[in-house]
Symmetry: C2
Subunit: 205 residues, 2 copies
DNA sequence: GGATGTGAATGTCTTCACAGCT
DNA sequence: AGCTGTGAAGACATTCACATCC
Protein backbone atom coordinates (compact mmCIF):
# COMPACT_ATOMS: atom_id res chain seq x y z
CA UNK A 1 0.00 0.00 0.00
CA UNK A 2 1.14 3.50 -0.80
CA UNK A 3 2.48 5.72 1.95
CA UNK A 4 -0.35 7.53 3.70
CA UNK A 5 0.01 11.21 4.54
CA UNK A 6 -0.45 12.10 8.17
CA UNK A 7 -2.98 14.73 7.10
CA UNK A 8 -5.08 12.05 5.42
CA UNK A 9 -5.37 10.13 8.69
CA UNK A 10 -6.55 13.20 10.52
CA UNK A 11 -9.17 13.83 7.86
CA UNK A 12 -10.38 10.22 7.94
CA UNK A 13 -11.06 10.73 11.62
CA UNK A 14 -13.15 13.78 10.75
CA UNK A 15 -14.99 11.98 7.98
CA UNK A 16 -15.92 9.25 10.43
CA UNK A 17 -17.46 11.77 12.77
CA UNK A 18 -19.45 13.28 9.89
CA UNK A 19 -20.61 9.84 8.82
CA UNK A 20 -21.89 9.21 12.32
CA UNK A 21 -23.83 12.46 12.11
CA UNK A 22 -25.22 11.58 8.67
CA UNK A 23 -26.19 8.18 10.00
CA UNK A 24 -28.03 9.81 12.87
CA UNK A 25 -29.94 11.88 10.33
CA UNK A 26 -30.93 8.69 8.55
CA UNK A 27 -28.89 9.23 5.40
CA UNK A 28 -28.06 6.01 3.55
CA UNK A 29 -25.49 7.34 1.11
CA UNK A 30 -23.24 10.36 0.99
CA UNK A 31 -21.20 11.96 -1.79
CA UNK A 32 -17.61 13.09 -1.57
CA UNK A 33 -19.01 16.57 -2.10
CA UNK A 34 -21.23 16.36 0.99
CA UNK A 35 -18.37 15.07 3.16
CA UNK A 36 -16.11 17.81 1.86
CA UNK A 37 -18.55 20.57 2.74
CA UNK A 38 -18.74 19.52 6.37
CA UNK A 39 -15.02 19.10 6.65
CA UNK A 40 -13.82 22.29 5.05
CA UNK A 41 -12.05 20.51 2.23
CA UNK A 42 -12.70 19.55 -1.40
CA UNK A 43 -14.48 16.58 -2.93
CA UNK A 44 -11.31 15.60 -4.78
CA UNK A 45 -9.46 15.51 -1.50
CA UNK A 46 -12.08 13.25 0.05
CA UNK A 47 -11.99 10.84 -2.87
CA UNK A 48 -8.18 10.80 -2.90
CA UNK A 49 -8.02 10.15 0.83
CA UNK A 50 -10.43 7.24 0.61
CA UNK A 51 -8.92 5.82 -2.56
CA UNK A 52 -5.61 5.40 -0.77
CA UNK A 53 -7.27 2.55 1.14
CA UNK A 54 -9.53 1.08 -1.51
CA UNK A 55 -12.60 1.69 -3.64
CA UNK A 56 -15.44 2.13 -1.23
CA UNK A 57 -17.89 4.13 -3.32
CA UNK A 58 -20.29 3.47 -6.16
CA UNK A 59 -19.99 5.69 -9.22
CA UNK A 60 -23.09 7.73 -9.76
CA UNK A 61 -24.25 7.02 -6.22
CA UNK A 62 -21.66 7.95 -3.66
CA UNK A 63 -20.62 6.08 -0.54
CA UNK A 64 -22.79 3.91 1.69
CA UNK A 65 -22.87 5.70 5.05
CA UNK A 66 -22.76 2.59 7.27
CA UNK A 67 -20.32 0.68 5.07
CA UNK A 68 -17.88 3.55 4.87
CA UNK A 69 -18.10 4.09 8.63
CA UNK A 70 -17.19 0.44 9.15
CA UNK A 71 -14.24 0.75 6.79
CA UNK A 72 -12.97 3.89 8.49
CA UNK A 73 -13.24 2.35 11.94
CA UNK A 74 -11.25 -0.58 10.65
CA UNK A 75 -8.57 1.64 9.14
CA UNK A 76 -8.28 3.73 12.29
CA UNK A 77 -8.14 0.67 14.49
CA UNK A 78 -11.32 1.55 16.37
CA UNK A 79 -12.99 -1.58 17.63
CA UNK A 80 -9.72 -3.11 18.66
CA UNK A 81 -9.82 -2.02 22.31
CA UNK A 82 -6.68 -0.17 23.37
CA UNK A 83 -5.50 -0.24 26.95
CA UNK A 84 -4.17 3.05 28.30
CA UNK A 85 -2.68 4.52 31.44
CA UNK A 86 -2.67 8.19 32.38
CA UNK A 87 0.45 9.52 34.08
CA UNK A 88 0.02 12.78 35.94
CA UNK A 89 -3.34 13.44 37.54
CA UNK A 90 -3.23 17.21 37.73
CA UNK A 91 -5.82 19.40 36.09
CA UNK A 92 -5.46 17.95 32.62
CA UNK A 93 -4.91 14.40 33.81
CA UNK A 94 -7.97 14.61 35.99
CA UNK A 95 -10.09 15.81 33.10
CA UNK A 96 -8.75 12.95 30.97
CA UNK A 97 -9.49 10.30 33.57
CA UNK A 98 -13.07 11.50 33.76
CA UNK A 99 -13.36 11.94 30.01
CA UNK A 100 -15.94 9.63 28.50
CA UNK A 101 -14.57 10.21 25.00
CA UNK A 102 -11.71 7.85 25.76
CA UNK A 103 -13.97 4.83 26.14
CA UNK A 104 -16.21 5.97 23.29
CA UNK A 105 -13.21 5.72 20.93
CA UNK A 106 -12.14 2.32 22.17
CA UNK A 107 -9.53 3.37 24.72
CA UNK A 108 -10.05 1.73 28.09
CA UNK A 109 -8.32 3.46 30.96
CA UNK A 110 -6.58 0.82 33.03
CA UNK A 111 -4.69 2.86 35.61
CA UNK A 112 -3.60 6.35 36.55
CA UNK A 113 -0.40 7.49 38.26
CA UNK A 114 0.91 10.48 40.13
CA UNK A 115 3.68 11.30 42.61
CA UNK A 116 1.77 13.79 44.79
CA UNK A 117 0.78 12.15 48.12
CA UNK A 118 -2.35 14.31 48.04
CA UNK A 119 -3.44 12.55 44.87
CA UNK A 120 -2.03 9.03 45.18
CA UNK A 121 -4.67 6.71 46.62
CA UNK A 122 -7.57 8.92 45.68
CA UNK A 123 -10.37 7.34 43.73
CA UNK A 124 -11.26 9.11 40.49
CA UNK A 125 -14.01 7.78 38.29
CA UNK A 126 -13.75 4.18 39.43
CA UNK A 127 -9.96 3.92 39.45
CA UNK A 128 -7.54 4.51 42.29
CA UNK A 129 -4.51 6.67 41.51
CA UNK A 130 -1.29 4.72 42.00
CA UNK A 131 2.16 6.00 42.82
CA UNK A 132 4.34 6.55 39.78
CA UNK A 133 7.06 4.43 41.40
CA UNK A 134 4.93 1.40 40.52
CA UNK A 135 4.87 2.29 36.84
CA UNK A 136 7.53 -0.01 35.42
CA UNK A 137 6.57 -2.96 37.57
CA UNK A 138 2.88 -2.58 36.72
CA UNK A 139 3.62 -2.27 33.02
CA UNK A 140 5.71 -5.40 33.04
CA UNK A 141 3.03 -7.38 34.84
CA UNK A 142 0.11 -5.94 32.94
CA UNK A 143 1.10 -4.14 29.73
CA UNK A 144 -0.91 -1.44 28.01
CA UNK A 145 -0.91 -0.06 24.48
CA UNK A 146 -0.77 3.66 25.14
CA UNK A 147 0.63 5.95 27.82
CA UNK A 148 -0.94 9.37 28.14
CA UNK A 149 1.56 11.78 29.66
CA UNK A 150 0.04 14.69 31.55
CA UNK A 151 2.89 15.47 33.90
CA UNK A 152 4.57 18.84 34.40
CA UNK A 153 6.93 19.63 31.52
CA UNK A 154 10.06 18.80 33.51
CA UNK A 155 8.97 15.22 34.11
CA UNK A 156 7.60 14.44 30.65
CA UNK A 157 10.73 13.16 28.93
CA UNK A 158 11.76 11.06 31.91
CA UNK A 159 8.28 9.55 32.00
CA UNK A 160 8.53 8.80 28.31
CA UNK A 161 11.87 7.09 28.89
CA UNK A 162 10.32 4.93 31.58
CA UNK A 163 7.25 3.84 29.63
CA UNK A 164 8.91 3.80 26.19
CA UNK A 165 10.05 0.17 26.30
CA UNK A 166 6.60 -1.10 27.34
CA UNK A 167 4.10 0.77 25.18
CA UNK A 168 3.36 1.18 21.49
CA UNK A 169 2.07 4.73 21.59
CA UNK A 170 2.38 7.90 23.65
CA UNK A 171 -0.01 10.83 23.74
CA UNK A 172 1.79 13.76 25.30
CA UNK A 173 -0.05 16.70 26.87
CA UNK A 174 3.00 18.29 28.46
CA UNK A 175 4.12 21.44 26.62
CA UNK A 176 7.48 20.03 25.59
CA UNK A 177 8.64 17.89 22.70
CA UNK A 178 9.42 14.37 23.78
CA UNK A 179 11.14 11.57 21.96
CA UNK A 180 10.53 7.86 22.24
CA UNK A 181 12.18 4.66 21.04
CA UNK A 182 11.90 3.68 17.39
CA UNK A 183 8.53 2.05 16.79
CA UNK A 184 6.67 3.96 19.49
CA UNK A 185 4.20 6.40 17.98
CA UNK A 186 4.15 9.79 19.64
CA UNK A 187 1.51 12.47 19.32
CA UNK A 188 1.35 15.82 21.00
CA UNK A 189 -1.54 17.88 22.27
CA UNK A 190 0.05 21.22 22.96
CA UNK A 191 -2.31 23.96 24.02
CA UNK A 192 0.42 26.57 24.41
CA UNK A 193 1.56 25.94 20.87
CA UNK A 194 -1.95 26.38 19.51
CA UNK A 195 -2.31 29.58 21.48
CA UNK A 196 0.91 30.93 20.04
CA UNK A 197 -0.10 29.98 16.53
CA UNK A 198 -3.33 31.85 17.21
CA UNK A 199 -1.28 34.76 18.47
CA UNK A 200 0.57 34.87 15.18
CA UNK A 201 -2.69 34.97 13.24
CA UNK A 202 -3.83 37.83 15.48
CA UNK A 203 -0.78 40.01 14.95
CA UNK A 204 -1.61 43.36 13.48
CA UNK A 205 0.35 43.97 10.31
CA UNK B 1 7.05 39.18 2.97
CA UNK B 2 6.80 35.68 1.59
CA UNK B 3 3.91 33.47 2.59
CA UNK B 4 4.69 31.60 5.78
CA UNK B 5 3.86 27.91 6.10
CA UNK B 6 1.65 26.99 9.01
CA UNK B 7 4.23 24.38 9.99
CA UNK B 8 6.87 27.07 10.29
CA UNK B 9 4.79 28.95 12.84
CA UNK B 10 4.36 25.86 14.97
CA UNK B 11 8.10 25.26 14.90
CA UNK B 12 8.87 28.88 15.84
CA UNK B 13 6.78 28.32 18.93
CA UNK B 14 8.90 25.28 19.76
CA UNK B 15 12.15 27.13 19.09
CA UNK B 16 11.06 29.82 21.52
CA UNK B 17 10.54 27.26 24.25
CA UNK B 18 14.00 25.80 23.59
CA UNK B 19 15.53 29.26 23.66
CA UNK B 20 13.97 29.86 27.06
CA UNK B 21 15.54 26.61 28.25
CA UNK B 22 18.94 27.55 26.79
CA UNK B 23 18.65 30.95 28.43
CA UNK B 24 17.95 29.27 31.77
CA UNK B 25 21.13 27.25 31.30
CA UNK B 26 23.05 30.47 30.74
CA UNK B 27 23.81 29.96 27.05
CA UNK B 28 24.48 33.21 25.19
CA UNK B 29 24.37 31.91 21.62
CA UNK B 30 22.90 28.89 19.92
CA UNK B 31 23.42 27.30 16.52
CA UNK B 32 20.72 26.14 14.14
CA UNK B 33 22.14 22.69 14.74
CA UNK B 34 21.53 22.88 18.50
CA UNK B 35 17.97 24.11 18.03
CA UNK B 36 17.31 21.38 15.50
CA UNK B 37 18.47 18.62 17.82
CA UNK B 38 16.04 19.63 20.54
CA UNK B 39 13.19 20.03 18.12
CA UNK B 40 13.51 16.86 16.12
CA UNK B 41 14.19 18.68 12.89
CA UNK B 42 17.20 19.68 10.78
CA UNK B 43 19.50 22.66 10.96
CA UNK B 44 18.54 23.63 7.41
CA UNK B 45 14.91 23.69 8.45
CA UNK B 46 15.65 25.93 11.39
CA UNK B 47 17.61 28.36 9.25
CA UNK B 48 14.93 28.39 6.56
CA UNK B 49 12.18 29.01 9.10
CA UNK B 50 14.03 31.92 10.67
CA UNK B 51 15.18 33.37 7.36
CA UNK B 52 11.55 33.78 6.31
CA UNK B 53 11.36 36.60 8.85
CA UNK B 54 14.82 38.10 8.56
CA UNK B 55 18.52 37.53 9.18
CA UNK B 56 18.84 37.10 12.90
CA UNK B 57 22.07 35.11 13.12
CA UNK B 58 25.78 35.83 12.75
CA UNK B 59 27.74 33.64 10.38
CA UNK B 60 30.32 31.61 12.20
CA UNK B 61 28.65 32.31 15.53
CA UNK B 62 25.00 31.32 15.52
CA UNK B 63 22.05 33.15 17.02
CA UNK B 64 22.01 35.29 20.14
CA UNK B 65 19.74 33.48 22.58
CA UNK B 66 18.07 36.55 24.12
CA UNK B 67 17.85 38.49 20.83
CA UNK B 68 16.29 35.60 18.96
CA UNK B 69 13.82 35.02 21.79
CA UNK B 70 12.76 38.66 21.56
CA UNK B 71 12.33 38.37 17.80
CA UNK B 72 10.26 35.20 18.09
CA UNK B 73 8.02 36.70 20.76
CA UNK B 74 7.50 39.66 18.46
CA UNK B 75 6.64 37.42 15.49
CA UNK B 76 4.25 35.30 17.54
CA UNK B 77 2.59 38.35 19.05
CA UNK B 78 3.56 37.42 22.60
CA UNK B 79 3.88 40.51 24.74
CA UNK B 80 0.81 42.06 23.24
CA UNK B 81 -1.65 40.91 25.91
CA UNK B 82 -4.62 39.06 24.47
CA UNK B 83 -7.96 39.09 26.22
CA UNK B 84 -9.83 35.79 26.23
CA UNK B 85 -13.08 34.27 27.43
CA UNK B 86 -13.72 30.59 28.05
CA UNK B 87 -17.13 29.26 27.08
CA UNK B 88 -18.10 25.97 28.66
CA UNK B 89 -16.79 25.26 32.16
CA UNK B 90 -17.00 21.49 32.16
CA UNK B 91 -13.97 19.31 32.77
CA UNK B 92 -11.83 20.81 30.04
CA UNK B 93 -13.08 24.36 30.55
CA UNK B 94 -12.42 24.10 34.26
CA UNK B 95 -8.86 22.94 33.64
CA UNK B 96 -8.35 25.83 31.22
CA UNK B 97 -9.65 28.44 33.62
CA UNK B 98 -7.20 27.22 36.24
CA UNK B 99 -4.38 26.83 33.74
CA UNK B 100 -1.48 29.16 34.51
CA UNK B 101 -0.04 28.64 31.02
CA UNK B 102 -2.64 30.99 29.60
CA UNK B 103 -1.29 33.99 31.48
CA UNK B 104 2.32 32.89 30.97
CA UNK B 105 1.80 33.16 27.20
CA UNK B 106 0.15 36.56 27.38
CA UNK B 107 -3.47 35.47 27.39
CA UNK B 108 -5.46 37.08 30.19
CA UNK B 109 -8.69 35.31 31.03
CA UNK B 110 -11.40 37.93 31.33
CA UNK B 111 -14.54 35.87 31.84
CA UNK B 112 -15.96 32.35 31.71
CA UNK B 113 -19.45 31.22 30.70
CA UNK B 114 -21.68 28.18 31.08
CA UNK B 115 -25.38 27.37 30.94
CA UNK B 116 -25.50 24.84 33.77
CA UNK B 117 -27.14 26.42 36.89
CA UNK B 118 -24.82 24.25 38.98
CA UNK B 119 -21.84 26.05 37.50
CA UNK B 120 -23.10 29.58 36.79
CA UNK B 121 -22.22 31.85 39.68
CA UNK B 122 -19.46 29.63 40.98
CA UNK B 123 -16.11 31.23 41.57
CA UNK B 124 -13.21 29.50 39.84
CA UNK B 125 -9.67 30.85 40.21
CA UNK B 126 -10.71 34.45 40.89
CA UNK B 127 -13.43 34.72 38.25
CA UNK B 128 -17.14 34.11 38.61
CA UNK B 129 -18.76 31.97 35.91
CA UNK B 130 -21.42 33.94 34.05
CA UNK B 131 -24.47 32.65 32.21
CA UNK B 132 -23.91 32.17 28.49
CA UNK B 133 -27.00 34.27 27.79
CA UNK B 134 -24.88 37.32 28.69
CA UNK B 135 -22.27 36.45 26.08
CA UNK B 136 -23.20 38.79 23.23
CA UNK B 137 -24.02 41.72 25.49
CA UNK B 138 -20.78 41.33 27.45
CA UNK B 139 -18.73 41.07 24.28
CA UNK B 140 -20.27 44.21 22.87
CA UNK B 141 -19.62 46.14 26.06
CA UNK B 142 -16.17 44.73 26.71
CA UNK B 143 -14.65 42.97 23.70
CA UNK B 144 -11.99 40.28 23.81
CA UNK B 145 -9.53 38.96 21.26
CA UNK B 146 -10.07 35.23 21.58
CA UNK B 147 -12.93 32.92 22.51
CA UNK B 148 -12.00 29.48 23.79
CA UNK B 149 -14.83 27.07 23.10
CA UNK B 150 -15.02 24.12 25.49
CA UNK B 151 -18.73 23.32 25.18
CA UNK B 152 -20.25 19.95 24.32
CA UNK B 153 -19.93 19.22 20.58
CA UNK B 154 -23.56 20.04 19.85
CA UNK B 155 -23.23 23.60 21.10
CA UNK B 156 -19.83 24.42 19.59
CA UNK B 157 -20.88 25.74 16.18
CA UNK B 158 -23.71 27.80 17.62
CA UNK B 159 -21.30 29.29 20.13
CA UNK B 160 -18.90 30.09 17.31
CA UNK B 161 -21.71 31.82 15.43
CA UNK B 162 -22.49 33.94 18.46
CA UNK B 163 -18.94 35.03 19.22
CA UNK B 164 -17.72 35.13 15.62
CA UNK B 165 -18.65 38.75 14.94
CA UNK B 166 -16.92 39.99 18.10
CA UNK B 167 -13.60 38.14 18.26
CA UNK B 168 -10.51 37.77 16.11
CA UNK B 169 -9.63 34.22 17.04
CA UNK B 170 -11.27 31.03 18.27
CA UNK B 171 -9.59 28.10 19.95
CA UNK B 172 -11.95 25.14 19.80
CA UNK B 173 -11.69 22.19 22.16
CA UNK B 174 -14.99 20.59 21.15
CA UNK B 175 -14.49 17.47 19.03
CA UNK B 176 -16.19 18.91 15.96
CA UNK B 177 -15.02 21.09 13.11
CA UNK B 178 -16.34 24.60 13.40
CA UNK B 179 -16.33 27.42 10.91
CA UNK B 180 -16.10 31.12 11.59
CA UNK B 181 -16.47 34.34 9.60
CA UNK B 182 -13.72 35.37 7.20
CA UNK B 183 -10.92 37.00 9.14
CA UNK B 184 -11.46 35.05 12.34
CA UNK B 185 -8.60 32.62 12.95
CA UNK B 186 -9.72 29.19 14.12
CA UNK B 187 -7.56 26.52 15.71
CA UNK B 188 -8.62 23.15 16.98
CA UNK B 189 -7.43 21.06 19.90
CA UNK B 190 -9.03 17.73 19.27
CA UNK B 191 -8.08 14.96 21.63
CA UNK B 192 -10.30 12.34 19.99
CA UNK B 193 -8.66 13.03 16.67
CA UNK B 194 -5.18 12.59 18.12
CA UNK B 195 -6.28 9.36 19.75
CA UNK B 196 -7.59 8.05 16.46
CA UNK B 197 -4.43 9.02 14.66
CA UNK B 198 -2.56 7.14 17.37
CA UNK B 199 -4.91 4.21 16.82
CA UNK B 200 -3.95 4.17 13.18
CA UNK B 201 -0.26 4.08 14.05
CA UNK B 202 -0.99 1.18 16.41
CA UNK B 203 -2.78 -0.97 13.87
CA UNK B 204 -1.15 -4.32 13.38
CA UNK B 205 -0.28 -4.93 9.75
C1' DG C 1 37.06 27.93 10.75
C1' DG C 2 32.52 27.88 11.52
C1' DA C 3 27.83 28.73 10.93
C1' DT C 4 24.42 31.49 8.43
C1' DG C 5 21.37 32.50 4.43
C1' DT C 6 19.49 30.94 0.21
C1' DG C 7 18.74 29.39 -4.76
C1' DA C 8 18.10 24.93 -6.69
C1' DA C 9 16.63 20.24 -6.33
C1' DT C 10 13.91 17.09 -4.31
C1' DG C 11 10.02 15.29 -2.03
C1' DT C 12 5.27 15.51 -0.48
C1' DC C 13 0.53 16.87 -0.69
C1' DT C 14 -3.38 18.90 -3.12
C1' DT C 15 -6.01 20.05 -7.08
C1' DC C 16 -7.41 19.26 -11.75
C1' DA C 17 -9.77 17.02 -15.16
C1' DC C 18 -11.60 13.24 -17.24
C1' DA C 19 -12.20 8.22 -18.27
C1' DG C 20 -15.13 4.75 -16.57
C1' DC C 21 -18.86 2.63 -13.87
C1' DT C 22 -23.74 2.44 -12.28
C1' DA D 1 -26.71 11.90 -15.85
C1' DG D 2 -24.13 11.51 -11.72
C1' DC D 3 -20.31 10.60 -9.02
C1' DT D 4 -16.21 7.85 -8.20
C1' DG D 5 -11.28 6.72 -8.91
C1' DT D 6 -6.94 8.21 -10.55
C1' DG D 7 -2.93 9.69 -13.48
C1' DA D 8 -0.96 14.09 -14.39
C1' DA D 9 -0.17 18.80 -13.16
C1' DG D 10 0.49 22.10 -9.94
C1' DA D 11 1.39 24.04 -5.37
C1' DC D 12 3.72 23.69 -1.33
C1' DA D 13 7.33 22.29 2.02
C1' DT D 14 11.79 20.27 3.02
C1' DT D 15 16.48 19.18 2.11
C1' DC D 16 20.78 19.96 -0.20
C1' DA D 17 24.86 22.27 -0.99
C1' DC D 18 27.56 26.10 -1.24
C1' DA D 19 28.73 31.04 -1.57
C1' DT D 20 29.03 34.41 1.97
C1' DC D 21 30.31 36.66 5.89
C1' DC D 22 31.98 37.07 10.90
Amino acid sequence: MAKIPESTIRRLSLYLRFLEAFDGEGARTVSSQALAERGGTTSAQVRKDLSLFGSFGKRGLGYSVPDLAVKLREILGIGVPRRVVVIGVGKIGMALVQYAGLAARGFTLERAYDVDPQVVGRRVASIVVRHADELERDLRRDPVDVAIIATPPGAAQETANRVGPSVRGILNFAPVTISAPEGVAVRHVNVELELEALGYALRTG
